[in-house]
C-alpha cells in the first residue's frame, strides 16, 4: 500500500500542477511540495524495508497486488528489493533538487513552468512504477509510458535542436520497447506451456520456471529485453540518441534522464535479463562484456574530444554505463553490488556535473567548452563545485564513485580478468577528460568569448555560435559572471554531502543491496568465484 501511495502521489501532483498555467509560483510551490512529500515517504519506505527479512529470503517487500487484466494473466503488483529501493530513493532525492535547480529556468517562449514541473512529477511517478513493478507486463507498461513525459520535456523545453533530439529519443526507445514487447509476449506463451495454471507475467513465477526453458528460447527472449535495455542504458552501439537528447534537454530534465531514466536499462539487466534468462545471460555474457568495455573506452575517447559541455557529460555517462554493464555480466556479488551502487553514485555525480555545467551555461550562454576560461577567478565556488563533481565522476578515492568502481573491478577480475584490465584503462581516460575540461574552462586567465561577453568585455565576435537564443535574449547585455547564488548552493549542497558521505561510509547502502544481489546471483545459478562480499 505504501508503494501505491508512492506511485500515485506524484501522479496526482502532476494533475494538480498542470492546469496552474497562469500562476507559475503556485505551480512551482505545489510541485516541490509534492516532491518533498514523496522524499519523506521514501524515507518511510526505506525505514520499513527490512534487510534481515531480505537476507532470510524475502525477495520482495511491501508488496501490493490486485488483479488487473485477468485475460492477460497480469496483476497490478508492486514490491521492492534492495536494488529497487535504492533506485527509488535516488529518484525521490534527485527530483526536488532538479525542481529547485529549475526554479528560475528560462523556458522557451510561450511555455509555462506548470507544464515543466507537472511533466517532471509524471516522470517521477512512472519511474517509481518501473522500479517497483513485480509483474513483467506492468513493468513494460511503465517502461513505455515513461517515454511520453520525457519526450515532451525534451521537445517542449529543450535547446535549439530539441525537436530532432526528442523524436530521436522517442523512436530509439520505442523501437527497443516494441522488440521487448515481443519477448514479453513470448515469456507469457512460454510460461503458459510450463505452468498448469496457464501463462503468467508474475516475476516470481517466471523466475521459478526460468531454468526449465531451453537455452535457444531463452536467447531469443533475452535478446528482446537486452535490446530495449541496451538502448535505454545506453550501451555502444545503441548510444547515439543520448548525446543529442542530453545536449538538447533542459538541464533539469537532462539530470533526470542521465541520472535515473537511463538506469532503468541497467536495472533491467539485473532484475529481468539475469534472473529470467540465466542460461542466455551466461551464454551471451562475453558479447555484453565486449560492448561494455568498448563503451568504457570509446565513450571516454569521445568525451575527451567533445567541444560541447552537455555532450561531454553525456559521453562520460556512456563510459560509466560500460562499467555498470561489466559489473552486471561478471556475475559475482561484489560486482553486482558495485554495479548497483554505481547506478546510485552515477546518478549523484553525473547529476551534479550536469547541474554545474548547466549553471556555467546559464551564465555564459554558450555550450562550447572553448568559449570559457578562467571561470575560477570569477566564480570560485562554482569552479569548486565543478571540481567536486568531476572528481567524483573520475572516481577519486574518498568520493562515492570510487567505492563502486573499485567493487566492480575487484568483483569482475576473478571471472573476467581480460575485460577488467581493459576497463581499468578507462579510469585513466576518465582522469584525462575530466581534468582537461576543468583546466580549459575553469583555470588560467579569464578568457573565452562567452565569459568576456558576460563581463561586457566583448571580444568583438560575441559569445559562441551555440548561444541559446532564449538565454541570450534574457541575459541582454553584460550580466557579469556571478558566483553561486544561495538557491544554487542549496541545490548543490545535498549532492556534495552525499558524494562525500557515500565515499567514506557506503555501508548503509551496501547493506540494503547485499541480500538482493546475493539473491540475483543465486537466480543466475552461480556462486561467487572468491567467496562472499567483503565489506
Amino acid at each position: 500500500m505504501l508503494l501505491l501511495v508512492l506511485l500515485v502521489l506524484p501522479l496526482v501532483g502532476a494533475l494538480v500542477v498542470a492546469p496552474l498555467k497562469g500562476d507559475a509560483r503556485t505551480a512551482k510551490l505545489v510541485a516541490i511540495g509534492v516532491a518533498l512529500a514523496e522524499l519523506a515517504l521514501t524515507v518511510v519506505v526505506w525505514a520499513s524495508y527490512s534487510v534481515a527479512d531480505a537476507a532470510a529470503g524475502d525477495r520482495f517487500q511491501l508488496e501490493f497486488g490486485v488483479d488487473w487484466i485477468p485475460a492477460f494473466g497480469t496483476r497490478f503488483a508492486l514490491g521492492i528489493d534492495g536494488i529497487a529501493l535504492v533506485m527509488i530513493a535516488l529518484t525521490a532525492l534527485l527530483v526536488p533538487i532538479v525542481m529547485l535547480f529549475s526554479w528560475e529556468e528560462k523556458l522557451p517562449e510561450g511555455r509555462s513552468a506548470s507544464g515543466f514541473f507537472a511533466l517532471i512529477l509524471a516522470t517521477e511517478a512512472l519511474l517509481v512504477g518501473v522500479f517497483a513493478a513485480t509483474d513483467v507486463f506492468l513493468f513494460y507498461v511503465f517502461f513505455e509510458a515513461m517515454l511520453v513525459p520525457m519526450y515532451f520535456l525534451i521537445g517542449r523545453f529543450g535547446g535549439p535542436r530539441r525537436q530532432y533530439a526528442a523524436v530521436k529519443f522517442f523512436l530509439y526507445s520505442l523501437l527497443g520497447g516494441l522488440v521487448m514487447l515481443a519477448s514479453v509476449i513470448g515469456l507469457f506463451v512460454v510460461s503458459g506451456e510450463r505452468l498448469p495454471a496457464g501463462g503468467t507475467f508474475s516475476w516470481a513465477e517466471l523466475q521459478r520456471i526460468a531454468a526449465d526453458v531451453p537455452e535457444s528460447t531463452q536467447i531469443w527472449l533475452f535478446l528482446g529485453f537486452f535490446l530495449a535495455f541496451a538502448i535505454k542504458a545506453p550501451l555502444v552501439p545503441f548510444h547515439t540518441w543520448l548525446p543529442d537528447a542530453g545536449a538538447e534537454a533542459p538541464v533539469g530534465a537532462g539530470v533526470l534522464l542521465v541520472g535515473v531514466l537511463d538506469k532503468v536499462g541497467t536495472f533491467g539487466f539485473l532484475r529481468y535479463c539475469l534472473p529470467l534468462f540465466p542460461a542466455a545471460s551466461k551464454a551471451l555474457a562475453p558479447l555484453v562484456l565486449t560492448l561494455g568495455v568498448i563503451g568504457i573506452l570509446y565513450g571516454a575517447l569521445l568525451a575527451v574530444g567533445q567541444t560541447d559541455l552537455k555532450r561531454f557529460v553525456s559521453y562520460t555517462s556512456i563510459a560509466h554505463f560500460g562499467f555498470i554493464a561489466l559489473g552486471i555480466f561478471a556475475f559475482s556479488t561484489q560486482s553486482f553490488a558495485g554495479s548497483a551502487l554505481y547506478m546510485v553514485n552515477h546518478g549523484l555525480s553525473t547529476g551534479m556535473l550536469f547541474i554545474v555545467v548547466g549553471l556555467v551555461i546559464a551564465r555564459g550562454g554558450s555550450r562550447l567548452i572553448s568559449d570559457y576560461g578562467g571561470v575560477h577567478k570569477l566564480a570560485p565556488l562554482l569552479a569548486g563545485m565543478f571540481l567536486v563533481a568531476g572528481l567524483s565522476s573520475l572516481a577519486l578515492p574518498g568520493t562515492n564513485s570510487f567505492v563502486s568502481e573499485f567493487l566492480v573491478l575487484v568483483g569482475s577480475f576473478p571471472r573476467e580478468p581480460a575485460f577488467t584490465i581493459l576497463a581499468t584503462v578507462g579510469i585513466i581516460f576518465a582522469a584525462l577528460y575530466v581534468l582537461w575540461v576543468y583546466q580549459r574552462t575553469m583555470q588560467g586567465p579569464v578568457r573565452g568569448s562567452a565569459v568576456l561577453a558576460a563581463l561586457g568585455r566583448g571580444s568583438g565576435d560575441g559569445p559562441g555560435t551555440m548561444l541559446d537564443p532564449a538565454v541570450a535574449a534574457q541575459r541582454g547585455g553584460a550580466a557579469g559572471f556571478p558566483d553561486l547564488s544561495k538557491r544554487e548552493i542549496g541545490v548543490l549542497t545535498p549532492l556534495v554531502v552525499l558524494i562525500l558521505v557515500l565515499g567514506f561510509f557506503p555501508g548503509p547502502v551496501l547493506e540494503v543491496l547485499e541480500p538482493s544481489v546475493a539473491a540475483t546471483l543465486t537466480e543466475v545459478g552461480l556462486t561467487d568465484p572468491v567467496g562472499g562480499m567483503s565489506r
Partner: protein
C-alpha cells in the same frame, strides 16, 4: 427406378416447403436498424424540408438506441449461439459483440454526421454534381447557390441534406448482416447492401466537391470489381462444395478427394473481395483517396464501421469455412499481412495530409488485425474482436477532431496547417495527442491493450516472425503519429493558420465517447476482454 423414386420424393419435399422458423429476439437489432432505415426513407420522401433534419436525427438515434437495447436484452440472457432464418444468419458471441461494436460506433459516427455547427449547415449537400459543374470546383469554396437556401425556411440559414441518415442506417444494417451471414450468398447480398449507400455517402461533401465525387467514383468502380471477385469466388466454391453454407464448405473441404484448385481459387477470389472492404494492402489503393475525399464524418463512419464488418466477415469465413484447411492458405495471408503492415507504415511516412495519413495508418492496422484473424484459436477471435472495438472508437474520435480544425476554405487537413495547434487550442491538441498515441500503441491506451491481445494470440499460434515484423512496423508507424505531435507542440503556429472550431454538442459527444473508451480500454479493459473472450462461431 431408384432415381425416379428419389426425384419423386424430392418433388414431394419441394411442395412441402414451410417458412423457416425465425428467432425474432436474436435478430431484433438487425430488423430494427433495417426497419428504421425504411422509415427514414419515408420521412425523407414525405416531410417538408425544414423538418427533415430534426426528425431524421431523432429517428436515427432512437433506432440505434432501440437496436442497442434489443441487443442488450438478448445478450443479457447469455444465449448459446444459434443460426436462424434457415441458417442464413448465425447469431453467436462474435456476432453479438460486433453488433454491439457496430451500433456504438454507428452512434458515434451519426453524431458526427448530424453536427451542423462545425460546418455551417452541415457537411452534406444534395446536388453536388450540378454545383460542381457550374463552379463549386476543386477549390471548393463556399458557393451560395439558390438551392442552399431552399433546405430551410427562406429566412433561415441553409440546412443540410438529410438523405445521409437513411444511407447510414442501410449501410449499418448491411454491415450487421454481413458479419452474421452464415452462407456466402447472404454475405454477398449484405455486402451490396452495405456498399451501395457508402458509395453515395462519399460523394456528398459540401466542400471540395470534385475530390469528393472522384472518391465516390473510385470507391464505386473498385468496389464493384471487388464484389465481382467475391461473387466469382463464391461460384467456384459452390462448384467445389455444392453448397454456399460455411459449415458445408468446411465439411466438403475435409476428406474430399476433389481437386483443391476450385476450393482455393474460390477462396482466393473471395478473400480478395473481403480484404478490399477491410482495406488490407495490396487491395488498399482506394483507401487514401476515399478517406481524403469523403466528408470527414462519413470517413469516420467508413473507417470504423466498415473495418469492423469486413473483419467480422473475414473471421467468420476463415474460422468456420476454412479453419481446417488453414495450413494451405496461411502462407498467402502471411504475405498479405506483411505487405499491409509495411505499406501502411512506410507510405504513411510520406503523407502530408491528415486524412490520407490516417488512411495509411488504417492499412497498417488492417495488417495487425489480419494477424489476429489468421490465428485460428479462440484467443485469436477474441483478440481480433477487442482490437476492432478499440480501433473503431479511436478512429471515430480522430476524425471528429480532424473535422474541427478549419480555415476559411473548410477543413485544414494539410499537415503544415496543424503546426503550433497546441498553442491555439491546447485541449484539442491534447486530445489528438492522446488518440495518436493510442493509434501508435503506447501503453495505458486501448491501442496497446489491443495490440498486445492480437500479438499474443498470433505468437501463441506460431507466428513469431510475423509478430516481430508487426512490432517493427509499429515502430515505423509511430514516427508519423509522432510527427503530428511534434508539429502541434513544438512548432510555431503560422500567422494565418487554421482555427479550431468550437464543436457543437453532437461532435463533442462523439469525441468524448471515443476518448473515454480509448482510455478505459487502456486502463481497465477486463470487462470488454471478457465480453470478447470465449467467442466461438456456430454455423
Amino acid at each position: 427406378m431408384t432415381g425416379l423414386i428419389a426425384s419423386g420424393s424430392a418433388l414431394a419435399q419441394v411442395q412441402q416447403i414451410t417458412a423457416p422458423p425465425i428467432d425474432y429476439a436474436a435478430i431484433a437489432p438487425l430488423l430494427i436498424v433495417l426497419g428504421g432505415a425504411c422509415v427514414s426513407v419515408l420521412a425523407e420522401a414525405f416531410l417538408p424540408r425544414y423538418q427533415r433534419w430534426p426528425v431524421q436525427v431523432a429517428l436515427t438515434l432512437v433506432v440505434l438506441a432501440a437496436a442497442g437495447i434489443a441487443l442488450g436484452l438478448y445478450a443479457g440472457g447469455a444465449p448459446a449461439g444459434i443460426t436462424t432464418l434457415a441458417d442464413a444468419l448465425a447469431v453467436d458471441r462474435p456476432t453479438l459483440f460486433l453488433w454491439g461494436t457496430l451500433l456504438a460506433l454507428g452512434l458515434g459516427s451519426v453524431l458526427l454526421i448530424a453536427d451542423r455547427s462545425v460546418e455551417p449547415g452541415g457537411a452534406f449537400i444534395a446536388t453536388a454534381a450540378a454545383r460542381a459543374a457550374v463552379g463549386g470546383g476543386a477549390a471548393g469554396g463556399p458557393v451560395e447557390g439558390p438551392e442552399d437556401r431552399s433546405y430551410g425556411l427562406p429566412d433561415e440559414a441553409p440546412t443540410m441534406q438529410t438523405e445521409v441518415f437513411p444511407f447510414a442506417l442501410f449501410a449499418l444494417g448491411g454491415m450487421m448482416a454481413f458479419l452474421a451471414a452464415n452462407d456466402l450468398l447472404t454475405m454477398f447480398i449484405a455486402l451490396e447492401v452495405l456498399s451501395l449507400p457508402l458509395y453515395l455517402m462519399c460523394g456528398l461533401a459540401r466542400r471540395r466537391r470534385l475530390l469528393s465525387q472522384e472518391a465516390a467514383v473510385k470507391y464505386f468502380l473498385l468496389g464493384a470489381f471487388a464484389s465481382a471477385f467475391f461473387l466469382y469466388g463464391l461460384a467456384l466454391i459452390y462448384g467445389y462444395a455444392g453448397t454456399v453454407r460455411l459449415t458445408g464448405i468446411a465439411q466438403a473441404a475435409v476428406g474430399s478427394n476433389r481437386s483443391d484448385a476450385l476450393l482455393f481459387g474460390g477462396l482466393a477470389l473471395l478473400v480478395v473481395g473481403l480484404l478490399f472492404k477491410g482495406s488490407v494492402a495490396p487491395f488498399h489503393t482506394w483507401t487514401p483517396d476515399v478517406y481524403q475525399g469523403a466528408p470527414t464524418p462519413v470517413t469516420a463512419f467508413m473507417a470504423a464501421c466498415t473495418k469492423v464488418a469486413a473483419f467480422g466477415a473475414i473471421l467468420r469465413v476463415l474460422h468456420v469455412a476454412f479453419g481446417d484447411t488453414r495450413w494451405e492458405w496461411r502462407g498467402v495471408l502471411w504475405a498479405v499481412a506483411i505487405i499491409s503492415m509495411v505499406i501502411g507504415a512506410v507510405l504513411g511516412l510520406t503523407q502530408t495530409d491528415m486524412k490520407r495519413m490516417i488512411a495509411y495508418s488504417s492499412i497498417a492496422h488492417a495488417g495487425f488485425l489480419l494477424l489476429g484473424a489468421m490465428a485460428i484459436t479462440e484467443q485469436g477471435v477474441s483478440a481480433t474482436l477487442f482490437y476492432l472495438l478499440a480501433y473503431g472508437f479511436t478512429t471515430v474520435a480522430v476524425f471528429g477532431v480532424i473535422s474541427l480544425v478549419r480555415d476559411a476554405d473548410g477543413e485544414a487537413t494539410h499537415l503544415s496547417q496543424w503546426a503550433g495547434l497546441a498553442k491555439r487550442s491546447p485541449l484539442t491538441a491534447g486530445v489528438m495527442t492522446f488518440l495518436l498515441l493510442a493509434l501508435a500503441g503506447i501503453p495505458l491506451t486501448s491501442g496497446f491493450t489491443a495490440k498486445f491481445a492480437v500479438f499474443s494470440a498470433a505468437l501463441a499460434d506460431g507466428m513469431a516472425p510475423l509478430v516481430v515484423i508487426a512490432l517493427v512496423a509499429s515502430a515505423i508507424a509511430a514516427f508519423f503519429y509522432l510527427r503530428v505531435i511534434v508539429l502541434m507542440y513544438f512548432s510555431e503556429p503560422a500567422p494565418d493558420g487554421p482555427t479550431v472550431t468550437v464543436p457543437g454538442a453532437f461532435t463533442t459527444a462523439a469525441i468524448t465517447l471515443g476518448v473515454l473508451v480509448t482510455l478505459l480500454l487502456g486502463i481497465v479493459p477486463t470487462l470488454a476482454l471478457n465480453w470478447a473472450g470465449g467467442a466461438t462461431f456456430v454455423g
